[in-house]
Symmetry: C2
Subunit: 274 residues, 2 copies
């Protein structure tokens, strides 16, 4: 467990994997969630780290996870199966189980991101326009209607005022969330950190006034570039809330103004009962 986390690498410790009896194992840190539910991006980083043990390439390029049932903090087993071992790409499957029951399954395709390659082509329109960090709303660990958001002890989240109206009871009326993200302890971002950052902002459903838990059903992140040190600018929007499900498309941009990750998730949101 990670009760005594040295400064500077809380994320690496909280997502550490080790050899277990059958395959790999890890401990879900109680400090990286919302109430007792681990954050989806945190789980994605953890299973991607396990996948990277089994493949030949250093960087997760595409990570797709289906969330089966929320694991609790504590020990988990990680069954890792190598699926592909190619020259430019390799792939693995990871099943995260607790008490013998699968809680999450993920497919990871890994490759090597060239730090020196620039974009060969990028769509017009750069990073999202965000208010300066100091003008944004900080994510507060004690902030959410009595539910402790331990994630914000570790991930420094600053929500753009333009998408923070829900915090004052005035939701924007849109599936939208924008903000800055970095680790509190100064750990620089890398591809695993991008998996975390892609799911670190409050759920876009808050923008519709749906302030309950938004359980992730499926989350896929594409890592497109090696991020530069510094703040990550995250922009999330969704197109449709229907039948209790909504989508979130996230873009993560680094301090150089480069698109470093893209994500999409399907999540649940229902109005609170009166």
């Amino acid at each position: 467990m990670t009760e005594e986390v040295p400064a500077g690498n809380a994320f690496d410790l909280a997502t550490a994997v080790h050899r277990g009896r059958d395959g790999w194992a890890a401990a879900i840190d109680p400090g990286w969630g919302i109430g007792d539910r681990p954050n989806g991006g945190y789980l994605l980083a953890l299973v991607a780290r396990a996948a990277l043990q089994a493949v030949e390439h250093p960087h997760p390029l595409a990570v797709s996870a289906h969330f089966l049932s929320p694991p609790a903090p504590g020990p988990v087993e990680l069954a890792v199966a190598r699926l592909r071992a190619g020259r430019s790409l390799s792939a693995a499957r990871v099943t995260l189980a607790q008490h013998g029951q699968a809680r999450l399954e993920a497919l990871v395709t890994a490759g090597r991101l060239d730090p020196d390659a620039g974009p060969a082509w990028a769509a017009p329109g750069g990073p999202p326009e965000l208010a300066p960090v100091e003008a944004c709303l900080p994510g507060r660990p004690d902030g959410l209607e009595g539910v402790r958001v331990g994630l914000f002890d570790h991930v420094d989240v600053r929500v753009d005022p333009g998408t923070a109206g829900w915090a004052r009871g005035r939701p924007s009326g849109r599936l939208e969330m924008r903000g800055w993200v970095r680790f509190h302890d100064g750990r620089p971002p890398d591809p695993l950190a991008l998996l975390q950052a892609a799911d670190a902002l409050p759920p876009a459903s808050f923008g519709l006034g749906l302030d309950g838990w938004a359980p992730t059903v499926e989350l896929t992140v594409l890592v497109r570039d090696l991020p530069a040190p510094g703040w990550l600018a995250c922009a999330v929007r969704g197109r449709l809330w229907r039948g209790g499900w909504f989508d979130e498309e996230a873009e993560v941009w680094d301090a150089r103004g480069r698109l470093v990750a893209q994500a999409r998730q399907l999540a649940g949101a229902r109005p609170r009962r009166a």
Copy 2:
């Protein structure tokens, strides 16, 4: 095999699965690809159909596939594992193998789409603006530099002139593709057909003048609604081409003007050698 396909259900026959020796089996139809490479959307529909045999819910809500190596037309084995059996959602994994080697692995979360539910909220901006069907460029099975596109024998694709410049040697300079999609034989769209439609247009990389094969690495489709009969309007755009990889975000809209599917893929594209 499907040499003698009765009119009206070519897609259902080409994606049919049956009980095999160990689990499920299918035959990849040689007619649903580009050259001898099966189309990614076709494969996605086939594995989703297999997944639906193992779960309690009728509709694929989220389907994520990692493409390991292209299968050839002919028999394939489908290992289906049930991952979740819940009240509102169930999930399964499908491994498509040929000659004992995994070629594609997919995770499928299924649920029940309510035909009567309207969107509870939809983002501003409706379906893409497309030229009328008769003003669009038809996908031609014999059209691609000597490579037969059998897919277009079955899927009626009409590319909007605004994104068809590549066909006249004048690519748009953008990762973008828009067009109409339906089955030639009149089979109405359903959730499985949406998985096909989400990957039926020519690759967006053609817009950058990259006219070679664009192998899909990862493809995830979210099915958001039950589609109405008629043409599907598809709009695809990508944000970044870097290090030989590009992204494609697809939206599929039905004849009522409802968003029925969203997809994203990571695919490969390199300039031809001179």
